[in-house]
């Protein structure tokens, strides 16, 4: 059977969620493996959410935030980036390939980028295969 990755995407309300909206409005197709959860800011993405997603069986976690300097909340995205770096090290310790966690800056004007990031990430996770239990 083909492996269909399950990916959770945490999208910030102001940039990436709107970017995903724009991808829709522009009809840029992308694989359906990513299901979004809206958060107000990428800085809201608790380390626990990431662990929780992998624990519940996610094959990948995508975090979408505003570009550096554009954060609606000034610097939430910087905090998210720092947290992701820390989490990548932690995931490696846990035997989960850190490539399964990705943070991307997608602005509200970048519908195309949202679609291509998702496509690329799904491909990457497909190559990596399911998380080994």
């Amino acid at each position: 059977m083909n492996f269909e990755p399950k990916i959770v995407a945490f999208l910030c309300n102001w940039c990436s969620y709107a970017g995903a909206d724009l991808a829709g409005v522009s009809r840029f197709k992308y694989p359906p493996n990513v299901v979004p959860i809206k958060v107000m800011c990428s800085g809201r993405v608790d380390a626990e959410f990431i662990i929780d997603a992998f624990r519940k069986g996610a094959d990948g976690v995508l975090i979408g935030g505003c570009h550096p300097g554009d954060c609606h909340y000034v610097e939430g995205n910087y905090k998210a980036r720092r947290r992701v770096e820390m989490m990548k090290r932690l995931l490696e310790e846990m035997g989960i390939n850190p490539k399964r966690l990705r943070i991307e800056w997608i602005s509200a004007t970048e519908g195309k980028k949202f679609a291509s990031v998702v496509e690329e990430f799904v491909e990457e996770i497909r190559r990596l295969g399911p998380v080994k239990k």
Binding site: V8, D21, Y30, R44, D46, F49, D52, H72, T109
Partner: protein
């Protein structure tokens, strides 16, 4: 916390139902825990759709509603307002199965994903608590950034409605690009003649505080209560005392290019950019002045009888509180040195459209004479190149919108200035979609005998005192070569994005600000309380810029005319087990977290609800209202 949830799945015509099997979705969701009713309907946002929701809330005794339809940015407010007639608005959530699903996926997978999205929304809703909006006072004042025609119009509209406006302009005078134009299409009225009365009205309006030669350096706060820091650069000339006699200019020994004349005419270090400048005053350009400290020349001060010159002026930081902000920062032209195919525009006789505007102006560098800058002789043959950098994948892919029209105007004015001259226009298509525009272009083509050549220019090079323009006429398939005296590039228009970071708004590839919705909210920024006017949002002509400015002004007035403003109550709250470590205080960008009695406390009016504190709290004692950890964890569970 809702226990009897109704799910309403919208077809959105075929937008959703054409891809997602809505009947299957309803079937699947009907049996889901907590859901007591589910149905589908063609257009949930329509009147009958809204009535259906109301009817079912009553009949089924619902205490929570999920509308599975478009993005919440479209209709969340619509559906919450429906629900508010029965219960708290936060008992209504939207599941975005259009933008995030039916428009981007196909087949059974789209249906599967729609079900997951709806289930996640249901899980969130189950733990939503009833919240009441927080009310904050509104500062009844508006900031307008940029004093071009758009900023001027917005400022006048707001001031005329009786509210205070602060108009900030970076340059020495307001007027912007419009002040540089010769005549305006399609009616050919003189640009300055119709603009200067508005400029003067700004300077005289008791409700407008004009801060020219000033820049907004910092914006903090939030809708209704922005705090703005403005840097007022020193002019070294007292605006009130200066009589614009020009004695200072006569004695100034420094000569530099005048930016207003696109560098085609000199000015002194102490200068007035153009005679009708507002504020009507000279400005000492300190970058080019021989020096004030230590004083090197000092001639201007000696010459000034009005004693207006003050070498001790210093820059000032002015702080203002405003309720709304209108951004009207305008445009720049594409850098012609990037156009390899047009010889990088290095040749003296290849000029930009704005340089040509100045050349056409009676008070411009050539007093309205159309000349070859290289030798000062009249240009007998002229070539206009449209889409120079626009509609070009190598440069800017978009249409700059106004170039077809102003090029037609340029060609017409050229023919009026040089009746025996020959004018050629290279174009891809003619886009003349405005009132009276098509008629204007066809008049230029027929009556003025301007040669329109459909095709892109492949190469430009100099041969002796001529500029050779080579291209292909795509209508005849023949090669065209014009030996021209002067070439005018209709360069692509770029947004000025320098304010983007300060107002925290996204810009697109052309540097234009992203509006909240491309059709229905074309003047609003995604951040509440910030509006756009003019070319900073997209290339546009004067009537559209003015219309958008009035639209922005109406929006800003709608905001600042309120006494109180509703603020989202989706804020942080601290659990009683807080250890008082203070991590949240250090990460909060708004200073909304304080320590009280050894524990953290969230100040409601300051919290913007980003949730950074909740994610950073090492002991998990901060939660976001209606975005609680357990809600998000439940959503993760159903998604996977």
């Amino acid at each position: 916390m809702p226990k009897r949830i109704g799910v309403f799945v919208c077809h959105c015509g075929v937008n959703i139902a054409g891809t997602v099997d809505v009947k299957r979705v309803v079937e699947e969701i009907s049996g889901y825990e907590g859901v007591v009713f589910a149905t589908d309907y063609q257009y949930m946002c329509s009147d009958p759709g809204q009535s259906l929701i109301k009817k079912k809330i009553e009949e089924e005794n619902l205490d929570g509603v999920i509308v599975a339809a478009c993005s919440p940015s479209m209709h969340e407010e619509t559906f919450r307002n429906v629900c508010k007639q029965y219960f708290n608005g936060y008992r209504c959530e939207m599941a975005n199965i259009r933008e995030h699903c039916s428009w981007v996926h196909e087949g059974i997978e789209a249906t599967e994903k729609a079900i997951k999205i709806i289930k996640a929304a249901i899980e969130k809703l189950k733990e939503n608590e009833d919240l009441e909006p927080i009310f904050v006072p509104v500062e009844k004042k508006c900031l307008v950034i940029g004093g071009g025609i758009a900023g001027i119009q917005a400022a006048l509209d707001i001031a005329d409605a009786g509210y205070n406006v602060i108009l900030v302009e970076k340059e020495a005078s307001i007027g912007g690009r419009m002040a540089q134009l010769s005549e305006t299409f399609p009616t050919l009225d003189c640009s300055q003649c119709i603009l200067t009365p508005k400029m003067v009205a700004v300077s005289r309006h008791p409700k407008i505080k004009l801060l020219a030669y000033s820049e907004v350096i910092e914006i903090s706060g939030y809708v209704g209560n922005f705090n703005v820091k403005i840097l007022k650069k020193p002019r070294y000339v007292d605006e009130d005392k200066c009589t614009v006699c020009g004695d200072c200019e006569k004695v100034c020994p420094v000569i530099v290019p005048n930016e207003f004349e696109m560098g085609r005419k000199p000015r002194r270090a102490i200068y007035i950019p153009f005679p009708q400048a507002v504020p009507s005053t000279y400005t000492l350009d300190i970058k080019n002045c021989l020096g004030l400290s230590p004083l090197i020349c000092g001639k201007c001060k000696e010459a000034c009888e009005a004693k207006a010159i003050d070498y001790d002026m210093r820059e000032q930081i002015i702080e203002e509180n405003v309720g709304a902000i209108i951004v009207a920062t305008g445009y720049d032209l594409y850098d012609k040195s990037k156009l390899v195919e047009y010889g990088y525009g290095e040749d003296d006789d290849i000029i930009t459209s704005l340089e040509f505007e100045r050349m056409l102006s009676a008070n411009g560098p050539t007093k309205g004479e159309i000349i070859k800058p290289s030798n000062g002789k009249e240009a007998k043959k002229i070539v206009f190149i449209q889409c120079a950098g626009s509609r070009d994948e190598q440069h800017m892919p978009y249409c700059s919108s106004i170039c077809c029209m102003y090029t037609a105007k340029h060609a017409l004015l050229y023919k009026h200035h040089v009746p025996q001259g020959e004018a050629y226009v290279f174009y891809i298509d003619i886009r003349a979609g405005g009132k009276g525009y098509e008629e204007f272009v066809s008049r230029v083509m027929k009556e003025e005998r301007v040669n329109y050549i459909r095709g892109k220019v492949a190469k430009i090079y100099r041969d002796g005192d001529k500029i050779v323009v080579c291209g292909v006429d795509t209508l005849t398939g023949k090669k065209v070569e014009v030996r021209a005296d002067l070439v005018v590039l209709a360069l692509a228009i770029l947004g000025k994005d320098e304010m983007a970071k300060k107002i925290r708004v996204a810009v697109d590839e052309g540097g234009f600000f992203k509006e909240s919705h491309p059709k229905l909210k074309p003047v609003e920024a995604l951040s509440r309380g910030i509006y756009f006017a003019g070319c900073c949002q997209s290339p546009k002509d004067i009537p559209s810029a003015v219309a958008q400015a009035s639209g922005s002004a109406a929006k800003a007035l709608g905001l600042i005319s309120k006494d109180k403003l509703e603020k989202d109550p989706l804020i942080a709250f601290v659990d009683e087990n807080c250890s008082g470590c203070g991590v949240c205080i250090s990460v909060c960008p708004y200073g909304a977290m304080v320590k009280e009695g050894g524990k953290a406390k969230c100040i409601e009016a300051l919290c913007e609800g980003c949730g950074t504190c909740a994610a950073a709290c090492p002991s998990n004692n901060i939660e976001m209202k209606n975005y609680r950890d357990k809600q998000i964890e439940k959503m993760i569970e159903v998604i996977i």
